[in-house]
């Protein structure tokens, strides 16, 4: 890739957020960062699916340019996901959500 740094999926991490705080528009990290593949395994284990919210983009901080995604199952959890991880989310999202996420991410 010309001029782009490729980060492998084993290095990318997502971060669980405090749900109450996110619903008021602030990002407060909960717990430790989780490697992407581990996160996917947990989502399967917890029988959760991912959804793209009307508001998702993160500006500033370590996840700048990434998105907050909602995982829904027995509960609703919110995760900060780096922009570089979006291609790996393709199997997890509807075509519409995935296209929207790409559109929001493109600068």
């Amino acid at each position: 890739m010309k001029g782009e740094i490729m980060i492998s999926a084993t290095e990318m991490t997502v971060q669980l957020l405090d749900g109450d705080t996110w619903e008021r528009g602030e990002i407060v990290i909960v717990g430790r960062p989780v490697i992407l593949q581990e996160w996917f395994r947990k989502l399967v284990e917890w029988e959760m699916h991912l959804a793209v919210m009307p508001l998702s983009r993160i500006t500033g901080g370590p996840y700048d340019g990434g998105h907050v995604l909602m995982a829904v199952g027995d509960a609703r959890l919110y995760f900060a996901v780096p922009a570089a991880a979006i291609p790996a989310l393709r199997p997890w999202l509807s075509d519409r959500d995935y296209a929207e996420l790409l559109r929001r991410t493109t600068r």
């Binding site: 749900g19 528009g25 009307p54 909602m70 829904v72 027995d74 509960a75 999202l93 509807s94 519409r96």
Partner: protein
Amino acid sequence: MMPGAWGDDRGGRDADVSRQPMQATEEQREAWRALGREKFRDSDHQRYAQSHRSTESLREAGRHGYQATAERYGRDYAADLLARHRREQPTRPEREMQGLLAELGAQEGRDYQREHKVAPGVYADFAWPERKVAVEVHGGAHQATFFLERGMPEREERRTAVYEREGWTVHVVTDRDLREGREGTRARMRETLAVATGGGR
């Protein structure tokens, strides 16, 4: 995989997000021009902008994120957007509660509201606004040690305090109540419905 609800600009029952485009007077427009970007902090302009929102403006909101949307349209508007999305993405326990209420003859929209705003930043899972009765459905996260150690009980106390301050009665139903004590929960909900609907059921 459940399809996403992105871009769906259905109006629904968001009482705080007017569906009727507001008209601005020339004086107002002049005042807003003079304010520049500060107009986004003006409550009249926020209401005006909200009323003219479109699917495209919602898409742009997502593009720019929560903070930018809150700045432009007001924090309540941004919170309402997320609440509407939560309504379209119920958790499994919430779906079970919907099913239980349906068995008791209560229908969403007609008899009760979901994600109803009780106060800024606080939305009831299930609500009967006329009688100020709410049901909060607590899923697995509420009982998980991980969240219990990270302030979940304190957050729930704060929410309960808001309900009380606003004059609401709130009933908590847990995931376990729905899975293992369904008959008892059904009886509780029947009583709750009787109160919430004025004894009509």
